[in-house]
């Protein structure tokens, strides 16, 4: 086990230096082991994600970060260990159950509907909030009409929040990469998740796009109080954004704590800079 930071009890809450309240743990990973055949992707990892915090998972390529994210959202079910979400041990989930549990995510390689407009893409994020049947929606009648108008209004709030008014009706395939990432964030936000997972939200972006995205991530966390777990390569970004950081290497956890603690952790420095074997 790596050295744990002086953590509070998982049920306590505390107030950060910048005035946000971090609540009790919404998700706890207990001794997770995930195998693909003979390959052990995740080896005995434990950590928690607290309500209202920005939690980063970092590590070199192949460290098992994306697998970890898939365990968090329930797409992978670990062979050993428990995932405790909102106080309950999670059982293996069917896809629609995954969608309904209140965890939304973005993808490392953008997974939008390229031929659909920005609006329509974000509307798909509202799908789990719609209750009327297919027939009523096709006829756009009665409750279905009211429901669509309400959801459309909600989507407009997101469009306003992400400042993407000018691309509302543009097919996302025609948008530059940075904007597509923003639309994907919009779709995840549309689901009103209690936990938002971001898989390399800054990958392939230029400095200005990174600055914009950082601001949106902070704003989402601040304005909506959304708990965020993110994977990122760009260390400087992570250190500025995250409240706490988990560091992984070869499927193991080698560090966990505030950015400052992680930065001075020898195991982390070795993993990132390499060590001489003499």
């Amino acid at each position: 086990m790596s050295k744990q930071t002086a953590l509070l009890d998982s049920r306590d809450s505390y107030v950060t230096a910048d005035g946000r309240t971090i609540g009790p743990a919404v998700m706890e990973m207990q001794n997770i082991i995930l195998r693909f055949g003979g390959v052990v992707a995740i080896q005995d990892i434990s950590f928690d994600i607290r309500e209202g915090e920005i939690r980063a998972i970092i590590g070199p390529n192949g460290a098992g970060k994306s697998s970890m994210l898939n365990v968090i959202n329930g797409f992978y079910h670990p062979q050993e260990g428990n995932v405790i979400y909102k106080g309950e041990v999670r059982k293996p989930l069917k896809p629609y159950e995954i969608a309904h549990q209140g965890i939304a995510r973005t993808f490392q390689n953008i997974a939008l509907f390229k031929g659909m407009s920005t609006l329509d893409n974000i509307m798909t994020g509202r799908l789990t909030h719609m209750k009327t049947g297919m027939l009523a929606q096709a006829l756009w009648w009665g409750k279905a009409q009211k429901e669509e108008v309400e959801n459309r209004a909600f989507v407009e709030r997101i469009v306003d929040f992400l400042e993407i008014q000018s691309i509302r009706k543009v097919p996302v395939g025609r948008l530059p990469y940075g904007l597509q990432k923003r639309v994907e964030l919009g779709r995840a936000l549309a689901a009103q998740p209690s936990l938002l997972l971001l898989d390399e939200p800054m990958a392939g972006m230029n400095v200005e796009e990174k600055e914009d995205m950082s601001r949106f991530i902070l704003d989402v966390n601040e304005e909506f109080g959304t708990t965020i777990a993110l994977i990122e390569h760009d260390m400087s970004v992570v250190m500025d954004l995250a409240d706490r950081v988990v560091v992984m290497d070869y499927g193991r956890k080698i560090g966990d704590g505030t950015p400052d603690e992680v930065r001075s952790n020898q195991a982390v420095i070795d993993a990132y800079l390499g060590v001489s074997h003499d």
Binding site: D18, G19, V159, D160, Q165, S166, D219, E223
Partner: protein, 654 residues
């Protein structure tokens, strides 16, 4: 007579115009804004209610008559209301260019000792916080958009709606105080203070009275028969006098509707949805749109292309004449009608100009081809000449007398004289009161009889009475051999080429003229794509030999053109280079209204100018650049210098 006098007396300040409109046009739309994807509207009665709440709120916060209230944000109804709310209190609104960096804003805010500032969002609030220690008089910042400001210190920061709520909860005495403040005002009181963009030196605060604004608005509205059913898209900076006259003066006088776009990027789209009947845009805008149309037409199919060109040729021939009411044969009229059905109508609709009844352009010279393109489509596009100190209008073109090379006849109530040195002077009801805290400049600009120096050199055409502007008076100089040097005249000709975005010509006290060129990345980029020329940046494209050849060809043409005019034949460009960066307001090379700052460029690129005159064929240079967020970096490049062909007057004649 007495009744007429009292009713006129009731319309001598902006708050009284508001009351008048709320009584006479209560249910007519006064403001529209697109928000959350939908056009929201406010009638005059609703607008008055909103403004009243805000004005009372400001009073409860301690706003005093004579205070300056600065505004930092894009065109939104809330900001227009804030201006009127300030005026109702007898305070002076000072709109500021919202894309300026903090340092530029600091000068203006400190100079007018702004006590209250309306800021649109976090970005603007951050700028104010950054320069707060330079603003000892500042009492409160009022913001519209809360986003990102949760952690901010609230002692001086108030939300717009909180101020309005305070206004609703105000005591009877406070409400009575506001009514008294409003009643005490006269037409001679200050209506607004607008800072000139400052082509030279620091910006100057131009004080305009209610009389200036309202009399100018009245005369100009009558001139173009603007009325309560018109509408305008407010998208040009609020700090610019033009927007103040169109969206404030004329809108308040006639009661027409002011529409605000959703964001700067959606302007074109919003324009199309609103379809305003009254439209103003700088020549740059019309150029940009035309370039876009042409680029898109080149991508269209053969049939569409031929249809477009066939009918556009016809429009060029008769469109202008039809617009001016000249006689046109019945068959030509019929063909034009068909063209409208097939080409002009759909095109205008796409551009959002279908309903434009009166269109104006000003600020720079407009290319004759561009001007006639729009007029031939049936848009009544005209030119005007004006400046902040005149409450805009000095001259404008009456319907039926529109030409691209003049700026029109004196506006109603304006007198014009040309000094011996060729500088244009005017005197009008719109003439400004003074430069704020700058009696020296006021004296230099405005004489005792009220004549104001425009700083522009020009002349009146004898037979038509139209004014023609040559250049800035101080820029018109002499070359070493005494020939006339009018850089802007040549630069404008260069800029009429869609591929050339900006040009700066040098030659004062020299024996020949040289030029810096900025290419238009969009137009040249498209051309490069067509010709299989690969490039990765502006810099690379600008240095491409083929691009140089193209620009060289343009300059040779200009030289031939300039040589034809004996007086200006010395202004032919002998050598030129294409700059490695776009001239930018953030780097101080252009003003916020995108006019070239000659002196700054001369100092900054001194080594390049030396190279142009030193006979070198290339030069290595390194330039500081400022990014939008205020940080800076540098770019370096090796620039080629090319010669152009010089024409003699005889050649042109032959």
């Amino acid at each position: 007579m007495a009744a007429a006098e009292t009713s006129a007396a009731r319309r001598d300040t902006v708050p009284r115009l508001l009351t008048f409109n709320a009584e006479h046009y209560a249910d007519k739309p006064a403001y529209r804004e697109k928000e959350f994807g939908i056009w929201q509207s406010w009638s005059w009665a609703e607008a008055k209610n909103e403004i009243n709440k805000l004005a009372t709120g400001l009073l409860t916060m301690g706003l005093k008559p004579g205070d300056h209230v600065a505004l930092l944000g894009r065109n939104r109804p809330y900001f227009y209301w804030a201006m009127i709310a300030a005026q109702t209190n007898g305070a002076v609104p000072v709109p500021v260019y919202q894309d300026s960096v903090a340092d530029e804003i600091a000068y203006v805010l400190a100079h007018c000792s702004a006590r209250y500032i309306f800021a649109e969002d976090q970005e603007q609030v951050d700028k104010i916080l950054e320069i707060q220690d330079k603003l000892p008089e500042l009492k409160a910042v009022i913001y519209l958009d809360e986003g990102g400001m949760r952690k901010y210190d609230r002692s001086q920061l108030h939300s717009y709606s909180d101020v309005q709520a305070a206004g609703e909860n105000a005591s009877q005495k406070q409400k009575a105080d506001l009514a008294r403040r409003e009643a005490e005002q006269t037409g001679a009181d200050t209506c607004a203070m607008l800072y000139t963009s400052g082509t030279t030196g620091q910006p100057k605060g131009v004080v305009l009275s209610n009389d200036n604004i309202i009399k100018t608005a009245e005369a100009s509205s009558d001139f173009d028969k603007l009325n309560v059913n018109d509408s305008v898209l407010a998208y040009l900076p609020m700090a610019w006098v033009g927007d103040f006259i169109f969206s404030m003066g004329q809108a308040m006088w006639t009661g027409f509707c002011v529409c605000c776009p959703e964001s700067t990027e959606t302007m074109q789209h919003d324009l199309r949805e609103i379809g305003p009947s009254y439209f103003f845009a700088p020549p740059r805008y019309f150029e940009g749109v035309l370039t876009n149309v042409m680029i898109r037409m080149e991508d269209a199919g053969k049939f569409k292309q031929s249809l477009f060109h066939y009918f556009m040729d016809h429009a060029q021939k008769v469109g202008g004449n039809i617009l001016d009411g000249h006689a046109v044969s019945a068959s030509d009229k019929l063909k034009y009608g068909l063209g409208r059905l097939l080409v002009y109508g759909p095109l205008l609709n796409t551009l959002g100009l279908s309903k434009v009844r009166v269109g104006y352009t000003a600020g720079e010279a407009i290319g004759p081809e561009i001007f006639s393109f729009y007029r031939s489509l049936g848009i009544n596009l005209k030119q005007l000449y004006g400046q902040t100190e005149a409450s805009v209008f000095i001259t404008q073109q009456p319907d039926g007398q529109v030409r691209s090379d003049t700026v029109g006849v004196p506006s109603p109530g304006v007198e014009i004289k040309i000094s011996d040195s060729g500088e244009v002077f005017y005197r009008s009801p719109g003439t400004f009161v003074e430069y704020y805290k700058n009696p020296k400049s006021t004296k230099e600009t405005k004489d005792k009889q009220g004549w104001v120096a425009t700083g522009d050199a020009g002349f009146m055409e004898k037979d038509t009475g139209h004014l023609r502007i040559i250049d800035r008076a101080k820029d018109v100089g002499k070359m070493k051999d005494g020939r006339l040097f009018a850089p802007k005249y040549v630069e404008n000709k260069l800029k009429f080429y869609p591929t050339i975005l900006e040009a700066v010509v040098f030659g004062a006290d020299r024996d020949m003229c040289t030029a810096f060129i900025n290419i238009d990345l969009q137009a040249v980029g498209n051309w490069a794509e067509r010709n299989n020329i690969a490039y990765s940046s502006y810099q690379e494209l600008a240095g491409n030999p083929d691009v140089y050849k193209m620009v060289q060809k343009h300059i040779n043409e200009i030289n031939r053109d300039v040589a034809a005019d004996e007086m200006l034949s010395g202004c032919q460009i002998h050598r030129f280079l294409i700059l490695h960066k776009e001239l930018d307001a953030d780097d101080g090379e252009l003003t916020r209204t995108r006019k070239v700052r000659r002196r700054v460029i001369q100092d900054k690129f001194k080594e390049l100018i030396d190279a142009l005159y030193g006979g070198k064929s290339e030069i290595f240079t390194k330039t500081q650049v400022t990014y939008e967020d205020g940080t800076s970096g540098s770019i370096s490049a090796t620039l080629r210098i090319e010669d152009a062909v010089i024409s003699s007057a005889q050649e042109t004649a032959a």
